[in-house]
């Protein structure tokens, strides 16, 4: 018995060793790039450490108190949520509409798919520079068109009331194609005979068909798109960094830009780590909702 079992047990031990060996590099990197940085971040948040300064002191919850009473940080949080509040409905509704219409096309489907997906593949920083030029008060084509139509010049990026909605519009421009593809995947999983059955039952026009079949069956996809769009919109940074740098008058200060400035521009490391933890809290909340949604989806 032992003669046969020994090679087997040795094989099992060998398998355990190789398994651990295969997983070890990933495990070490996971510690170095995620676990340890998170612990360091948490520790830093209770100090007054600034990068380059040799000593530091423990200050308890001072940084947290400061963050929640900080006018700039509160504004950047509100601005970020305002941005999400525009991009979320804008991109979800638009992409759903586009997806439903594109899904019914046969010959022109790939034509529209390519066009709408184009912004997803392009470098946002480069395109943001182009948008800045398009929106330029005197040189931009959009204002030139508005002038021609008899409207005045619109200072899209220098008017505090318009700057954030303008960035949100670019956010929608970038996201529509991505969400459209997700919706198209959801649409193609709806059985075709449902539509035929509903036609026999007398569900006549397209709007009725959409409300009775498409919309309910697309529910899980829609929830999923809503969560991923919220996370993406919450992480807005690129357009702010290139086009407005937080201005005019702080109207486009967003949470990641605030973290970037505190942590890597003013080097107020401890304070930046508190802001990072607040940012992480929001992302985790979104992710928990996402897991919940995904769970519902698999049981659907």
């Amino acid at each position: 018995m032992s003669a046969a079992a020994l090679p087997f047990r040795r094989q099992l031990l060998w398998q355990k060793l190789t398994g651990a060996g295969f997983a070890l590099p990933a495990f070490l990197l996971l510690l170095a790039l995620h676990v340890v940085p998170l612990l360091v971040l948490a520790g830093l948040s209770f100090t007054d450490y600034e990068l380059g300064v040799v000593t530091f002191e423990w200050v308890g919850l001072d940084n947290y108190a400061q963050a929640f009473s900080d006018e700039v940080f509160r504004r950047s949080l509100v601005n970020t949520l305002y941005y999400v509040a525009i991009v979320l409905p804008g991109s979800v509704i638009l992409s759903l509409l586009v997806a439903v219409l594109v899904h019914q096309r046969k010959r022109t489907r790939s034509f529209y798919e390519i066009i709408y997906f184009l912004p997803v593949t392009s470098t946002l920083i480069a395109m943001a520079t182009v948008w800045q030029f398009l929106l330029h008060p005197s040189l931009g084509v959009i204002n030139a068109a508005l002038r021609k139509l008899g409207f005045g010049e619109v200072p899209f990026l220098s008017d505090p009331d318009l700057a954030l909605p303008t960035l949100a519009m670019i956010g929608i421009w970038q996201l529509v194609g991505f969400n459209m593809i997700l919706f198209l995947a959801g649409l193609s999983s709806i059985p075709r005979d449902l539509y035929e059955a509903s036609a026999i039952d007398g569900v006549g026009n397209g709007v009725d068909r959409f409300l009775t079949i498409t919309w309910p069956l697309l529910g899980p996809t829609t929830l999923f798109v809503i969560v991923t769009t919220s996370i993406t919109a919450f992480k807005v940074f690129d357009t702010v960094a290139v086009m407005t740098k937080g201005g005019p008058q702080g109207a486009t200060e967003v949470i990641l830009y605030a973290i970037y400035l505190e942590g890597f521009y003013y080097f107020r490391t401890a304070y930046a780590s508190v802001l990072t933890l607040v940012f992480l809290t929001f992302v985790v909340i979104f992710s928990v909702i996402q897991t919940f949604v995904l769970d519902r989806r698999t049981h659907y």
Partner: protein, 295 residues
């Protein structure tokens, strides 16, 4: 499909075929009008980028709205963009960084995913839970401590510093694990009986079978890191190391900032590689980028 539906729903005898036809045509008209209007909105910056990149300055700065340039100025703009700033260097940096990240990601994620999917080892469950938790942590969270470590080690302003936070792709591990789990155990057992080592099994048997997942993951990884601004902005101050987004930002901030002809030429050069690849490998591309969405 549409045709059969609408004729079936039309009550027999009341609506003439011509009326049905007209209704269908007008419906189609509105659908395409809507989709084309959206397409114009999407394409506007791309088209305007291309035409501006071949316009001379006096036409760019003229208040008159004109689409096509009267004087072709493309050579001047593109050569200015390529010489005034190292735009090709930015693209090369992008290639180096993306390749480096992708290669290390695959080398680390594939064996780990195989071990999680097919091998028993201590700490397996803990590791998988950590992978799932790490999935929801964006780079901006560990950025600060990693930056401090790199500064302390004197590694800022290197290709390594641009790549290191992304060496581990928990998403890659998660994806490949799902893929490997459906790989037949019988084949692995047979390979073991043939005397193949686990190392050979991973790289010569399991990995080739996962080709579609690897291709999709590669697209996802390359697009993400070609376009990433946040991390390079933090660790790179040497313009010669800048990847495309950071280089574009330097170029736009520098004195060339109001030279829109050259600026759009640079934007075209830096956007082109991914867009052209997308046009040639559309299915793979869409699959790869939206994979995060349907995981």
């Amino acid at each position: 499909m549409q045709a059969t539906l609408s004729t079936r729903t039309a009550p027999a005898g009341e609506v003439s075929p011509a009326a049905v036809m007209i209704r269908r045509m007008s419906g189609l008209f509105f659908v395409h009008a809507f989709l084309l209007a959206g397409a114009v909105f999407i394409l506007l910056p791309f088209v305007w980028m291309l035409v501006t990149s071949i316009k001379p300055p006096e036409e760019v700065f003229s208040a008159e709205l004109s689409f096509w340039p009267d004087r072709f100025y493309g050579l001047e703009n593109y050569s200015f963009a390529l010489t005034a700033a190292p735009v090709l260097r930015f693209a090369l940096n992008g290639v180096i960084v993306c390749t480096g990240i992708l290669v290390v990601q695959l080398l680390i994620a594939i064996p780990c995913a195989y071990a999680l999917a097919k091998l028993q080892f201590p700490g397996r469950h803990l590791l998988f839970v950590l992978v799932l938790l790490a999935l929801c942590i964006p780079i901006q969270v560990p950025a600060l401590p990693i930056y401090m470590a790199l500064a302390w080690l004197g590694l800022l302003n290197t290709y390594f510093s641009m790549m290191v936070p992304f060496f581990l792709s928990v998403f890659g591990i998660f994806l490949f694990r799902q893929f490997f789990r459906s790989f037949p155990d019988d084949i692995i057992h047979a390979a073991r009986l043939d005397g193949m080592s686990e190392f050979e099994i991973v790289w010569r048997i399991v990995t080739p079978s996962a080709w579609p997942a690897i291709a999709a993951f590669s697209v996802f990884s390359i697009v993400a890191h070609w376009n990433d601004l946040y991390w390079p902005l933090i660790v790179i101050s040497d313009i010669n190391l800048a990847p495309p987004p950071l280089g574009m930002m330097y170029f736009a901030d520098a004195e060339t900032g109001s030279n829109y002809g050259a600026l759009t030429a640079a934007a075209t050069v830096l956007t082109a590689p991914l867009v052209v690849t997308f046009l040639f490998a559309r299915r793979r591309f869409i699959e790869g980028i939206t994979m995060t969405g349907v995981k």
